[in-house]
Amino acid sequence: MLKIIIRKVILGLFYLFVISVVAFVMVRQMPGDPAVLIANQDRETEAPPELVERIRHEYGFDRGMVEQYRCWLQRVIFDGDLGYSTRTKRPVLAEIQSSLPASLRLGLITFGLTLIISFPLGLLAGVTNNKILDLWIQSMAWINYSVPVFLLAVLLIWFFAVDLRLLPAIGHETGRHYVLPVAALSVHLSGWTTQVIRTSIREISEKPYIQFAHAKGLKQIRVILIHTLKPALFPISTALLIQLGNLVSGSFIIETIFAWNGIGRLLVDSIMARDFPIIQGILLYTGGIFALINILIDSLYLFLDPTTIEKMGRGRTS
């Protein structure tokens, strides 16, 4: 089992290497000359060509792509140094570390709240024989899913921040700042999550062995919690953990509306400024988080269901 996990980690590192190459090549395909942008920064007038040339040489943009990548990789591996932002001149790692916690907190709080809302509802809709109740929960879930996050955010700001003046609409300094963004994200996400949980539970509860468990007179609660919920946790946890990754990296819509300095905003600003080191750093960092989540899911499987050991040993993981 340990062997399989080690294999997964090595594979994950290889994936990160591929992502770093892809990111490196992709940022250099963007239109616009980064040297010119850097030279013109904080200047009223057009930068002289000599300055642009000097900057191009200083940042190494005049060298071949393979050579540039080699230098970059060398520093990442041996010094753990992702380079410096060309826009703010601060280390890439410092930039990422100053914007990631807010996004991470937003993602985790939303994720937690979503689970609290959708787990009981999804479970209830999945096991109940009451068609009307099932229909009600499902309808609510579909409607919640259909409301775009940005629309709800705008309406929440208008109602709670502008009209009632109850909550702040901009920034992320205090706990009160989290209320509106978390609410806007959770409504949409809980709709989706409730559906996923309901479907997984329903699928299991229609299996013959569940009917048999009922038939032999086991208590309802025991059948639900042990025989139905436990096997359903596999597909549910896979789907949800992937959502967590999307939540942390994909909340730049919320970050933009509520003027947060999160990781998504940092990427958008860096793309605008052609800040190559930051873009590469963010893709590597978030790719690392995703890879870690994938390894966690696989390890969880190995732990909970020994039959997967054989399958993964053969290299068929997905």
Partner: protein
């Protein structure tokens, strides 16, 4: 029973919306970008069904033409991403062995790049605009579908009746046509529907932030953004495009209920 009624009703309503957006000329006599200051900010009335905006443009007309952009591009995203995914899964399963392994790995790698960040990067490489938005979203969506389809094909191949069919000497073409295709058609249609619904949400979100259509052309997300300053006094300018998104996404998802096995 209930499921069939809800599904069929949703599909019919969705068809009406699609038709109205495909042929806006049949439903309105106005131009989407025609400015008329004399009639600016009129409340919804008999002449202007949903009222007019700050430039006196007819909101109902803009909604139809905007839907054309939002729905049309979502259809392209859904079609493109499911098509790439289906071909990828089929080729991967057909070739098998080392090629299958390699193609699965490529999907795995694409899956751990955060989708929206990847899409933003792609948009900035292809010049900003609706076309790049559609291409970028199709590119980031297909790996997830390819993984699901590949899994389904893989489990089909090991099903007992297929083993039996092979043992009886069935040819690959026969197996793909009679045993595999009917079993994954439903899944492909479902993925297409889900992709269409999430495509509308993504397109309108990114347009809302200014990554999609250029002014003055209408698009549902961009219209909501344009209505923000007037939310207090003219809420209908935001309510109608907002409802259009919610209702279309909802109907698309409910239509899929028709396909669910009961």
């Amino acid at each position: 029973m209930m499921r069939t009624i809800i599904g069929a009703l949703s599909l019919a309503l969705l068809a009406v919306i699609l038709l109205a957006c495909a042929f806006p000329g049949l439903f309105t006599n106005y131009e989407p970008n025609a400015i008329n200051f004399a009639e600016k900010f009129s409340q919804p009335n008999r002449i202007h069904l949903m009222g007019t905006d700050e430039l006196g443009r007819d909101l109902f007309t803009r909604l139809l033409f905007g839907g054309r952009v939002t729905i049309g591009s979502s259809l392209v995203i859904a079609g493109g991403s499911t098509l790439i995914a289906a071909i990828w899964a089929a080729v991967s399963a057909y070739l098998g062995g080392i090629w299958d392994e390699l193609m699965t790995r490529i999907v795995d790698i694409l899956m751990i790049i955060p989708a929206l960040l990847f899409a933003l990067l792609l948009i900035s490489i292809l010049e900003p605009g609706m076309r790049s938005l559609v291409i970028a979203l199709a590119i980031v969506r297909w790996p997830g579908y390819a993984r699901i389809l590949r899994g389904q094909v893989y489990s089909l191949l090991s099903a007992e009746y297929l083993v039996a069919a092979k043992a009886l000497g069935a040819k690959p073409v026969h197996i793909i046509r009679r045993h595999i295709m009917p079993n994954i058609t439903m899944l492909i249609i479902t993925l297409f529907g889900l992709s269409f619904a999430s495509g509308i949400l993504s397109i309108s979100s990114l347009s809302f932030l200014g990554f999609g259509v250029q002014l003055p052309h209408p698009e549902w997300g961009a219209m909501i953004n344009a209505a923000r300053p007037f939310l207090q006094t003219r809420p209908y300018l935001m309510i109608f495009p907002g409802l259009a998104i919610i209702v279309t996404v909802l109907l698309a998802n409910l239509s899929l209920r028709l396909l669910e096995p009961s």
